[in-house]
């Protein structure tokens, strides 16, 4: 059912990638990072996955280590968004992560329902 390779190509590097200052653009530096790497700022990527429903984690684990939590979240993200599932921050996956998106969570969609209850 899913194409072996993602049908969407990474964004043309000559387009908005060059613009600094837009949200999540700093995630570009994580391309090809893998489990076990300690990278300054990757805790922000963990917060990104936590926000959109891929990482149930308490704040103690927002470290800058590419750990199994992050790898697990990455695999779920790749599965859920029809990307090549390899648990790696490959170019396609990073291009998708930094793409602008809707603020509603991907896999715990009751967030706004919960808000309703409040």
């Amino acid at each position: 059912r899913t194409a072996p390779f993602p049908s969407s190509k990474p964004i043309n590097p000559t387009s908005y990638h060059k613009i600094r200052g837009y949200t999540w653009h700093e995630f570009q530096k994580f391309v090809d990072a893998g489990r076990g790497n300690k990278i300054n700022g990757i805790s922000e990527l963990k917060k990104y996955f936590h926000r959109f429903g891929y990482l149930k984690i308490d704040s103690l684990n927002f470290t800058d280590l590419f750990d199994e939590h992050l790898e697990h979240a990455l695999i779920k993200y790749q599965e859920n968004l029809g990307l090549l599932v390899n648990g790696k921050l490959d170019e396609y996956t990073v291009s998708q992560i930094i793409s602008p998106r809707c603020g509603v969570s991907d896999s715990a969609p009751k967030l706004f329902m919960h808000a309703t209850r409040n």
């Binding site: 949200t23 959109f52 998106r101 991907d106 009751k110």
Partner: protein, 192 residues
Amino acid sequence: YAFFTGKPRWSRSIPITLTYAFSPDYVINSLSMSEIKDAFQRAFNHWASVIPVSFWESNDYGFADIKIGFYKGDHGDGEPFDGLLGVLAHAFSPEIGRFHLDAAETWAVDFEREKSDVAIDLESVATHEIGHLLGLAHTSVQEAVMYPSLKPREKKVDLKIDDIKGIQALYGSNPNFSYQDLLESDTSTNSG
């Protein structure tokens, strides 16, 4: 396609009529109000053409079913906006009817006129968020309107079969809609 937990939908009797209004206080100036209203009307019509739900614009923001506003940063619902790109908008599940857009984006209704590399198509985002307002969650089908991301200068307003199957599972079909028309329009688009 996917639904919110509990499969919420607008529970009025079919055919459903929903009103929408724009916040008089939380607006943007980069587009005229008539351009914004036209884009939203097209967006609502994409959904109205496939389900027995009609949408009417109202001037009475307080009583509208769907309340639309452009906000910056923290705007009180626990989901602050984040400036240029990143999160573009969010909308609540039925029957809440809240629809928030990030006022910091470079909203566009015509890419011939708006040349910015980070311009975001307003009709595409509106069509996606209206899907949430009606009860659809995100899909993993990349071509579908309910796929969570939209790249700058990308336009994605035509509902795909995944979107239509999902929304018709909630509301049934618009009697005037037929998949045949959809396939023919797709074919003509492709051959074009």
